[in-house]
């Protein structure tokens, strides 16, 4: 773990009164290596380490802590602060329905997260409607309808339609008529570099004006997270991130990368395949996981 490595590094350089350029050099290398192994993006690591160095230099060593502990604490706090300090929730529209658009790369966990979020909203006394806007993937509608039955939330779908924008628009109108206060659009997975598919998403957003645009990101995503999140954010103006599959042992460095490049908060995390496996995001826990 990084904290052990840093303790060893500082033990080697001895107990100095102040953290200086020299005695920090190796410690900063340890941090850099740990973050790269945790899949934080190369450029984000550069910027993060520079920030840590600036904060650490000249900091006099607290006599109650050894320098290693103090430094670890500094790195940890810096990470937590960047990740957003505290958990953020869904921002509901003042005038219902609140429209939530789920988007992201293929296989990231959008459909499953839609089901989980619907279940969560139902428990909070909302009346959600899930929309099967993925008309491409084989059995995508079956998948969402099955989830709908499992959580007791209705699903709007149209098996004869090949127009995702139209499906979303009609679902929105139906929600108004049937008094659903939340509409959740499960969209098809797509590449950030697929202009046609990204334009489709922009068209959906233009027609139904979502209050939340959530990018669903797989926790095991590597360096590419920056490019993907940057592109989705610049084309859609994301309102938040959902990071999935955190029940595994992926370190989740993509969380720092995505936050760094978009500035948007991670609102929820997926911690399993079952529909109750959704938790609010805790920056402290994520920082601990990335640094571990």
């Amino acid at each position: 773990a990084l904290s052990d490595k840093l303790r060893e590094t500082f033990r080697k350089i001895g107990g100095y009164g102040t953290l200086t350029e020299e005695n920090l050099q190796e410690a900063l290398r340890d941090v850099r290596l740990a973050l790269l192994e945790a899949d934080v993006n190369f450029k984000v690591v550069k910027s993060f380490v520079a920030g840590v160095k600036e904060k650490a230099l000249g900091q006099s060593v607290n006599v109650r802590l050894n320098p290693g502990q103090q430094f670890v604490g500094l790195v940890h706090d810096e990470l937590v602060e960047i990740m957003g300090g505290q958990a953020e929730k869904i921002h509901f529209a003042s005038q219902p329905p609140t429209v939530i658009m789920m988007c992201g790369l293929q296989g990231s966990g959008k459909t499953t997260s839609t089901g989980k979020l619907a279940k969560h909203l139902l428990a909070q006394k909302h009346r959600p409607l899930m929309v099967a806007a993925d008309i491409k993937r084989p059995a995508a509608i079956d998948q969402l309808e099955t989830l709908g039955k499992q959580v007791g939330v209705p699903v709007f779908s149209d098996r004869s339609s090949t127009d995702a924008v139209d499906i979303c628009r009609r679902a929105h109108q139906l929600a108004l008529m049937k008094d659903h206060d939340v509409v959740m659009l499960d969209t098809a997975g797509r590449l950030h570099i697929d202009d046609e598919m990204m334009t489709e998403l922009e068209d959906v957003a233009a027609h139904v004006k979502p209050h939340e645009v959530l990018l669903v990101v797989d926790a095991m995503t590597g360096q590419d997270a920056v490019r993907v999140a940057g592109e989705f954010d610049s084309r859609l103006a994301l309102s938040g991130i959902v990071m999935t599959k955190l029940d595994g042992d992926a370190r989740g460095g993509a969380a720092l990368s995505v936050r760094h490049v978009t500035g948007k908060p991670i609102k929820f995390i997926g911690v399993g395949e079952k529909l109750d496996a959704l938790q609010p995001f805790h920056p402290q826990r994520m920082a601990g996981r990335i640094l571990d």
Partner: protein, 277 residues
């Protein structure tokens, strides 16, 4: 690349940036940079072009040292497809079915994912599009039972190639890894030499966790190959360079899209070119 005209720190930094951002990971990257550092020390004639060639050759060697022909010629050849959630197992099976159909092979698909919503329906649609047979059961059923019946039927019916789809599972879920072990044992019960191939499907967007995926899956069901998917995106899949140091696994196919024809054979030179592009 880098536009530097000598082998110096700027070149090493440029190379490091390329390799790390391709997901090769810090260790494999430092090994490769160290390689050209020592070459540069040995000879002053070692210029950036030679450095690039040395790196490319080293990467290419790692990716090709385990290449050997696939063992799928004795019918019914059984190929077990495994991997974590959402990487493209089911879609890759459809693509492989199409590929081998073109060689005149009679294919059977096995719906071994009985857990996930819509999983059986998804593979069924592919079997209908392909016009090939599929063995499936009810959702929630025991995958080992389906697989046992499927392999038995395949042998009886003279099927050439059996492609076994399994549910996505994280390598940290020990009960699900045990389930995979059981699926493999059940296949062996019917055909002792099977599964003839076991492919780990890896998503090219995955970072260093792929190393842990490969190790743990391999411990449970000895892997015979890799398929790297979603290379039509911007991720390079460089983690396979790091993986080559731990597990000698040939990369068999590359997934380059969502359509049934979007499967390429692994071509080492092209892959290395793409890594550095």
């Amino acid at each position: 690349f880098g536009g530097t005209d000598q082998v110096d720190d700027e070149l090493f930094d440029d190379l490091e940036a390329i390799l790390i951002q391709a997901d090769c990971g810090p260790r494999a990257t430092s090994d490769l940079v160290q390689l050209i550092r020592s070459r540069a020390e040995e000879s002053s004639a070692f210029d950036p072009e030679a450095a690039m060639k040395a790196i490319r050759d080293s990467v290419r060697e790692r990716l090709t040292r385990s290449l050997k022909p696939m063992n799928i010629d004795t019918p019914p050849a059984v190929v077990l497809i495994v991997g974590v959630n959402g990487v493209g197992k089911t879609t890759t099976i459809a693509k492989m079915a199409r590929l081998f159909q073109a060689y005149g092979k009679r294919i059977m698909l096995v719906a071994g994912d009985t857990f996930r919503a819509g999983a059986i329906e998804q593979l069924t649609i592919w079997s209908q599009r392909l016009g090939c047979e599929i063995m499936k059961g009810k959702a929630g059923g025991d995958p080992s039972a389906i697989v046992f019946d499927a392999v038995s039927a395949a042998r009886a019916r003279g099927v050439d190639l059996v492609l076994v789809d399994t549910a996505g599972r994280l390598q940290t879920q020990s009960n699900l890894m045990d389930e995979l072990g059981k699926i493999r044992r059940v296949i062996q019960k019917v055909i002792p030499e099977a599964p003839h191939e076991t492919f780990l499907i890896l998503d090219a967007t995955t970072g260093q966790n792929a190393l842990s995926q490969a190790k743990v899956f391999n411990d449970m069901v000895p892997l015979s190959g890799l398929v790297l998917t979603k290379l039509d995106g911007t991720a390079k899949g460089g983690v396979v360079v790091a993986l080559a140091d731990h597990l000698e696994l040939p990369i068999r196919f590359l997934g380059v899209g969502e359509g049934v024809d979007d499967l390429d054979n692994f071509r080492p030179d092209e892959f290395v070119d793409a890594l550095f592009s």
